[in-house]
């Protein structure tokens, strides 16, 4: 469903992604792991179009989306749960949720109800402005906001950051559920334990390159993770 081939991305003069190739098949959860500053977020940003690659191909459902505007990419069915939450502080919780919602894809009340059942606290804070939420609540909002757009592929950049263990378990279940109903997910996560549990396949990044990739069931993976993430 999504395929990156030899992607090179720069910030000004610095060459950050140096030929990233990875694939997210339909209906699967792919984990992208790596230490801080290795280029995970940049990979995500290259896909969504914030930092368009200078070289390489990004193919989504058979279409090369390099050079597309972020909003066009999003309209193709890619949603982003960004690192650092990036909810809209001056909008209320409800506005945050409804802003990307599209009529043709569902019923607003139903969709909202769905998100609220997943994160009941958001219902309680419905009219609060985004900036007054607690960190964890903002993270829930960021996930809910992405789900509201009915995407086919969700890019999740450390979606579990700042969440309490109970909520993490809920989200774990949610991701499994999403997967089984056909969603594809590219997951960047530092909670290695959980990432390995959810994902079907793992890519490990090191200094802008894919250093290793393999099936989560493989034995070798433990060692590779030890090697690149030092645990």
């Amino acid at each position: 469903m999504l395929q990156l081939t030899d992607v090179h991305t720069y910030y000004g003069d610095s060459h950050i992604l140096q030929g990233v190739t990875l694939e997210v098949p339909q209906g699967s959860v792919i984990a992208l792991l790596g230490r801080n500053g290795m280029g995970k977020t940049t990979t995500i940003h290259s896909i969504i179009g914030f930092t368009p690659p200078v070289k390489g191909q990004i193919v989504f459902e058979g279409k090369n989306i390099v050079g597309f505007q972020p909003y066009q990419i999003a309209q193709l069915g890619i949603a982003l749960v960004p690192q650092g939450r990036r909810i809209f502080p001056s909008l209320t919780v409800k506005e945050n949720l409804t802003i990307g919602w599209q009529k043709k894809k569902g019923q607003l009340d139903n969709d909202l109800k769905h998100i609220y059942s997943l994160f009941p606290v958001l219902k309680k804070r419905e009219k609060h402005s985004g900036k007054h939420l607690s960190g964890g609540e903002q993270q829930m909002l960021a996930i809910g906001r992405a789900l509201m757009t009915h995407p086919k592929l969700i890019l999740m950049d450390e979606p579990l950051e700042g969440l309490a263990p109970t909520i993490i378990q809920d989200i774990y279940k949610k991701i499994i559920e999403l997967k089984s109903s056909g969603y594809s997910i590219l997951l960047v996560e530092q909670n290695i334990h959980l990432a390995l549990k959810i994902a079907d396949y793992v890519y490990i990044m090191n200094k802008g390159k894919i250093a290793y990739h393999g099936d989560t069931k493989q034995e070798q993976i433990k060692e590779e993770i030890k090697k690149y993430l030092s645990i």
Binding site: I48, G49, F50, Q69, P70, Y71, A74, Q75, A79, L80, P82, R86, F88, P89, S90, L91, E95, N96, T98, I99, G100, Q102, R145, T149
Partner: protein, 289 residues
């Protein structure tokens, strides 16, 4: 002052306030929602008045002038936003310089086309009479201004509150990238709101034309008034712009009655007092962490 006088002056304050609302609300939208310091806002107002006058002279039709001028200036607004402002979001100092540059250019273009002579827009004939209120005459046109001001306020409120537009714009200012990632072509919204701001300014220019006239320098006089309104009411809320306008309208009017000698500074004294006690405007929220 007898009661008739008080009523007349209150009507004066109200009509002036709603005129201020017309001319300030566009600035409030652009400033409050998009965070753009548009020093050319007064120029849109002034050009609106001039263009409106030109259309009246051509067609003799006030309503046509009103809509024509507003649409023409909205188009100018689209050009300005699309080719210039769009690169400058969140760069306030550059916005100051750019829009000031435009203010200069617009002023000179107006001088070039219409000369420097001050002008006044004729009132539409059907509004060119006076009403008798408790023995005092009060111009019908000012009553019409009150009605139009209220109507525009209502229409804007419906537009911004009942549609997603206001929220999208605010989100766009918070984090443009993220809005795009939500599948929204935010640029169109920005352009649209800027055009709407220009539309409202020009609309105000024509409505205010029979009272404020059209002259070189009107642009900056209006700008200061509009800024005062927006800031007193608090940035970014229609409600703020509305009550800010009415308040300033009343302060100006009653300042002219009770403090004739200080009329040139009443508005500033009021602004200073309000901001000393409410550093983020009357209806603005103080930034709480």
């Amino acid at each position: 002052m007898d009661s008739a006088q008080i009523i007349i002056q209150a009507l004066n304050g109200l009509s002036y306030g709603l005129l201020l609302f017309l001319l300030a609300t566009g600035l409030s939208l652009i400033f409050g929602l998009m965070g753009v310091i548009n020093l050319a806002h007064g120029s849109f107002y002034m050009l609106g008045a001039y263009v409106g006058l030109a259309i009246i002279n051509l067609t003799g039709n006030f309503v046509l002038a009103l809509l024509g001028a507003a649409l023409i200036l909205a188009f100018v607004g689209i050009l300005v936003e699309r080719f210039f402002i769009q690169r400058l979001y969140k760069r306030e100092l550059d916005q100051v310089l750019l829009t000031f540059g435009f203010a200069y250019i617009f002023m000179d273009v107006a001088k070039w086309i219409w000369g420097g002579t001050p002008r006044s827009l004729p009132k539409p004939p059907f509004l060119n009479s006076s009403l008798n209120i408790l023995g005092e005459a009060f111009p019908v046109y000012r009553i019409a201004m009150i009605i139009i001001g209220l109507f525009v306020a209502l229409a804007l409120w419906l537009f911004l509150e009942r549609t997603r537009v206001g929220a999208v714009i605010r989100a766009g200012v918070d984090d443009q990238e993220m809005v795009k990632a939500m599948g929204i072509n935010i640029k169109i919204f920005f352009t649209g709101i800027f055009a709407l701001g220009a539309f409202l300014a020009a609309f105000g220019g024509v409505i205010g034309g029979p009272i404020m006239g059209a002259y070189l320098g009107l642009d900056f006089n209006i700008l200061v008034l509009a800024l005062a309104v927006v800031v007193v009411g608090g940035l970014g809320t229609l409600k703020g712009a509305f009550w800010g306008s009415i308040l300033i309208g009343f302060i100006e009017t009653f300042g002219k009655v009770f403090f004739i000698n200080f009329a040139i500074v009443t508005i500033y004294i009021a602004m200073a007092l309000i901001l000393i006690f409410k550093p983020a405007g009357l209806l603005g929220k103080e930034e709480s962490y």
